[in-house]
């Protein structure tokens, strides 16, 4: 049970704005329609400030950082 942070996207709120991929290309890239594809695994420590900025900048407030991976 890791206490590292994971990027989580609310797929319904996400509108394919793409700012996340601009700010955090190491972890996020866009598919053919502009929607984010997330890299697996937790956010590396050195990218954490950028990840927090992504959360703030998403126009739809669709991205969040969660502690640990939630499994259904």
């Amino acid at each position: 049970m890791s206490s590292r942070l994971h990027v989580v996207v609310d797929r319904i709120k996400c509108d394919g704005s793409g700012l996340c991929a601009e700010l955090l290309p190491e972890l996020i890239r866009l598919d053919d329609w502009g929607y984010p594809i997330l890299a697996q695994g937790p956010v590396p420590e050195h990218l954490r400030p950028l990840a927090e900025r992504v959360v703030e900048e998403c126009p739809m407030l669709a991205i969040a950082l969660h502690r640990g991976k939630r499994t259904p």
């Binding site: 704005s17 700012l19 329609w33 900048e57 739809m60």
Partner: protein, 195 residues
């Protein structure tokens, strides 16, 4: 501080405010249009939009404070906050108070966006389309310099810039293929479901 310095400061700050505000509105529209280029990422537009908005507030504060403190017009703080409460150019000044309060609401909600959620934030942010024209009218009506060449030119440029951006926004809404596809699909789904 001598009256005329304050007076010039008020007018100067007012002019800068309307220029900055117009840039902020244009950047906001460009952001919604998802404009980007090779060396212009989208977060640059949103970042500039935010920073210029904060700068606008600074100059707006300067504009208001110098106006209120100026003993020549004897405005008092009420005039800045309560629309249509001043003796001096009641209507046009009142518009300024309205624009000021709208902008305060818009900026405040943007600062706490994460807490109020996207929908509420968006609702209030649309007040921009009220705040900006009201501010322009306020400038035209109260401004001592309104009919000077430089102020006319500035106002004309602001109106042209924002006007062009609005036209672009209306045109693009119907040209963005992805959005059109999605709403057409949703309409078809709703129509099918309600049969």
């Amino acid at each position: 501080m001598s009256n005329s310095v304050l007076w010039y400061a008020t007018r100067g700050a007012g002019a800068v405010t309307i220029i900055l505000l117009s840039c902020v509105v244009i950047l906001g529209i460009l952001s919604a249009l998802r404009v980007q280029g090779e060396s212009w990422p989208r977060f640059l537009t949103t970042g500039l939009h935010r920073n210029l908005a904060l700068m606008t507030l600074v100059f707006l504060a300067l504009h208001i404070v110098t106006a209120v403190v100026d003993t020549y017009t004897n405005l008092g703080w009420a005039a800045a906050l309560i629309p249509f409460s001043s003796y001096y150019r009641t209507f046009w000044l009142g518009l300024g108070a309205i624009a000021f309060e709208l902008l305060l609401a818009i900026v405040a909600t943007s600062l706490v966006r994460a807490y109020i959620g996207h929908n509420m934030w968006r609702l209030i942010h649309w007040l921009t389309y009220t705040a900006w024209p009201v501010a322009v009218l306020h400038g035209l009506g109260t401004g001592t310099d309104t009919w000077s060449a430089w102020m006319l030119a500035i106002t004309a440029a602001c109106i042209a810039g924002v006007g062009a951006a609005i036209v672009l926004r209306l045109a693009a809404a119907s040209r963005d293929p992805l959005a059109t596809h999605r709403s057409a699909f949703r309409t078809a789904v709703e129509r099918r479901d309600s049969r």
